[in-house]
Amino acid sequence: MEAPILSVRQLTVDFSTDAGNFRAVDGLTFDIPKGKTVALVGESGSGKSVTAQAILQILSKKARIANGSLLFNDPANGGSIDIAALPAESDAMHGLRGGRIAMIFQEPMTSLSPLHTIGDQISEALMIHADVDQAAANQRTMEVLGRVGFPDPKRALRTYPFELSGGLRQRAMIAMALITRPALLIADEPTTALDVTTQAQILDLIKELQVETGMSVLLITHDLGVVANVADEVVVMYRGRIMEAGSRDDIFRNAQHPYLQALMRAVPRFAMAENERLTPIREVKSASLASIDAPQRVQPAGPILKVEHLTKSFTLRSGWFSGKAREIRAVSEVDLSLPAGKTLGLVGESGCGKTTVSKMIMRAIPPNSGRVLFDDGTGLKDVHKLEGEALTTYRRSVQFIFQDPFSSLNPRMTVYELLTEPLRIHDIGTSDERYERVKHLLEMVGLDQRALRRYPHSFSGGQRQRLGIARALALEPRVLLCDEPVSALDVSVQAQVLNLLKDLQSALGLSYLFVSHNLAVVDYIADTIAVMCRGYIVEEAPKSSLFRNPVHPYTQALLAAVPDPDLDRPLDFTKLRTGGFSQPSAWPEPFRIEPGEFGVMKEIEPGHKVRLGRLSAQEAA
């Protein structure tokens, strides 16, 4: 058998911090075979990124390789080097780094310097490692940029990262890593920050390039769906140790280790049974939920929240020196209806306008036209016309759960202050009553009441998100707007929070508007799903019919692009290669919508509506 490109043997990395020393990677041993993809899987904090940094010797100053070897067998010259024995700033290490082993990172937004052009940053990588002049380097850069899918490589040389979309930035990163033709590519969560369709295209690109160049790939990810689609071999890590390793088929069809089995059960999948429940790795028991009394309230006859023809445009100034203003329509003629006690999922890629819609429902920004209607049992009222007492009541009835549990809690307030703040603002209860209420809220979200005196930084991401939920529940709302509430969380924690939201809904009779880009998550929690693209609702249906019979090309593309952790449902890369799913003017007839038009929603089966272009709708009528 051919020698592996990289043999990791007993790798141990220690961190020394003010809080004490700890071992981030503990006796890691695995091989990366030539031309294959090895996936390193684990939750955040499991030591997978530290492993990658150790291979390149770009560990932070607090960390050091305490033990073990990293044997790199370069196929180009047949030599074998122990990377762990090289000094980090030696010439040999500089040559390997970027030259023979290249790396791409999670955040394409921040991993490129905003002050230098793409061309400068990519050609630099080549000029460090090869003896070429700037002109030749530019030529090669253009070739590589063209290869990774830049439509106009010559222009791309002079573009700055902030002028590009996230997908193109990640392509530029890949170009930068591959221009030196490395033997090993380390991809650290390369698609986590990208939309699903873009993710599928990037994964496809990495696979293609791998076939072309014969390089090996070390893929670091927490997404089992991605692993199932691109990895040859899988290494599962937990707390710096290997839990299980083996070929992809072994891992997915025959998971042995309890941790891996638990991880598999925690991921929402499309093929889940109707009432199947996710099993979080660490289940959180909510003591009081079962015995809770839902507040007795008049339930509205129709939907509790209704959005009619909502439209919102933003004016942009296009630059410092030009002063020309452009108008962008972020939300176009959106109609939504949220039945009481149900969940409406709003799905779409970044920038599709889903957050703008939720902000207009919150009355944080006014719409250009259209109405938001709310029914508290006394009939529908226009939210944007509410004033005084009625507005305060509305604010109490509709609460928000934010995406980022780290920045949505004030770090200078204790949990007690955070949770009582809504009560103080609305002047509810005496301080004793508030204390009782807060204790009760903590019980509901499964946190111990000893948490009250602590500050947010001492909680994990999932615990913080549960604090955010508790805060939203403080005023006994009827509707919760959840804006990507689990997208910043690990898979294991994600299941926990989703289950909590489900339990709360059935116990308290809440209605959710659940905004997310993750179709599998929405499938798990929502009753009805609306798919949004470029400010339009393109398709809306009960979840069973949406997944059984997606009609709109955008919905189909979105569904096809979600990597499922199921070996029998692989991604169809060829289908996704064409692109242009999110261009209303590029959709095939009868779905095509010309710029400036709105199209029409048409009901094709009960509850299942699709947006058609104007012309075709006229023909149909």
């Binding site: 780094r97 921040t110 310097s113 700055y160 410092w320 002063g323």
Partner: protein, 339 residues
């Protein structure tokens, strides 16, 4: 770009107009002016010839007119006794205290001021940037602590005190006098090579004294900025490419950390003129600072007004320059706003 420049120049002109009104009326706020004070003094001494001259000057500069008329004449938009002759026409007025045109009073001092302070700015950057880079890249090392300690001492030392100490010890140890900007024998001489040499050697001490506080402050700020940037992902990318540590540092995080300093140029230019008054007094440097101080004290209105207007102009121009430089250096500002 041209539209941007035009818009900025119009706002600059409006700003200058408002500043000129403020400057003029604030100088005028205390009762009386230089000439009436002087006339009262002369009357007490009974010198009629000087009184006649003073009264001539009062008429000449329209000081007997209402303040708003004086302002418009000073500005040059209303005819005075000599027709249109004000700031806009390049007539900066008459210094009563020195009994000379303002231009003669400030002429030499103005460019010597610029020279001294330009040297200070260069000194600050040359010293502060390498130290800041050293202490940011070796955070919490012994060298970092030493640099930090020296920096705090620099911040806490009053510069005029340092000037006095140096003045004394330089004389005692080396027998040299460091007062003034050149040896007294060259005063009033035309510029010659020995005079320039003398100027350069006299420049050293004022530069160090005036620059010390600024250097210390700059080390602290630069270190903090750089530390922020060193944690950024793009720096890791640069290292992962195989760039050597020095080049990676200078090309990426260092350049990013420069932005606040470029934005500071607008504040820096006026400081070139108005800063360091105390040190100039102590070291008897012939710069604008002491002149401004005495002009304000004696209500020498045209002299004070001109210096203040000059400082204001430097501020406004400095802001424009720093904005243009920022746009040139940072593409996000040049092309941003669209997203």
């Amino acid at each position: 770009m041209i539209r941007f420049l035009l818009r900025r120049i119009v706002t600059m002109a409006v700003t200058m107009l408002i500043i000129s009104a403020l400057v003029f009326f604030i100088i005028k706020l205390p009762p009386g002016d230089f000439l009436t004070n002087q006339i009262a003094e002369l009357r007490a001494q009974g010198e009629s010839a000087s009184i006649a001259k003073a009264e001539f000057l009062i008429r000449q500069y329209g000081l007997d007119k209402p303040a708003w008329q004086q302002y418009l004449v000073w500005l040059g938009v209303m005819p005075g006794p000599n027709g249109f002759s004000g700031l806009l026409q390049g007539d900066w007025g008459w210094s009563f205290e020195y009994d000379k045109p303002v231009v003669d009073v400030v002429g030499d001092a103005l460019w010597l001021t610029l020279l001294v302070n330009f040297a200070v700015v260069i000194f600050i950057h040359l010293i502060a940037i390498p130290i800041a880079i050293y202490s940011a890249t070796r955070q919490y090392s012994v060298g970092d602590y030493i640099a930090t300690f020296i920096g705090y001492i620099g911040l806490a030392t009053p510069s005029f005190l340092l000037a006095l100490i140096l003045l004394y010890y330089m004389n005692r140890w080396f027998g040299i006098s460091i007062g003034g900007l050149y040896d007294s024998q060259y005063a009033g001489e035309p510029w010659s090579w020995p005079k320039i040499q003398s100027l350069l050697s006299h420049l050293v001490v004022p530069t160090v004294v005036i620059g010390l506080g600024g250097t210390a402050a700059m080390i602290r700020r630069m270190r903090a900025n750089l530390l922020d940037e060193l944690g950024k992902q793009y720096y890791v990318t640069a290292k992962a490419k195989g760039l050597g540590p020095t080049k990676a540092l200078l090309k990426y995080p260092f350049r990013m950390s420069l932005n606040p300093f470029i934005a500071d140029i607008g504040n820096l230019l006026p400081q070139l003129v108005s800063g360091s008054v105390l040190v100039s007094l102590v070291l008897s440097l012939p710069t604008v600072g002491p002149i401004l101080l005495s002009a304000l004290k004696s209500q020498d209105q045209f002299l004070a007004g001109f210096i203040l207007m000059f400082v204001a102009l430097l501020t406004v121009v400095g802001m424009l320059v720093s904005d243009l430089l920022l746009a040139w250096l940072d593409p996000r500002i040049r092309m941003g706003g669209a997203r």
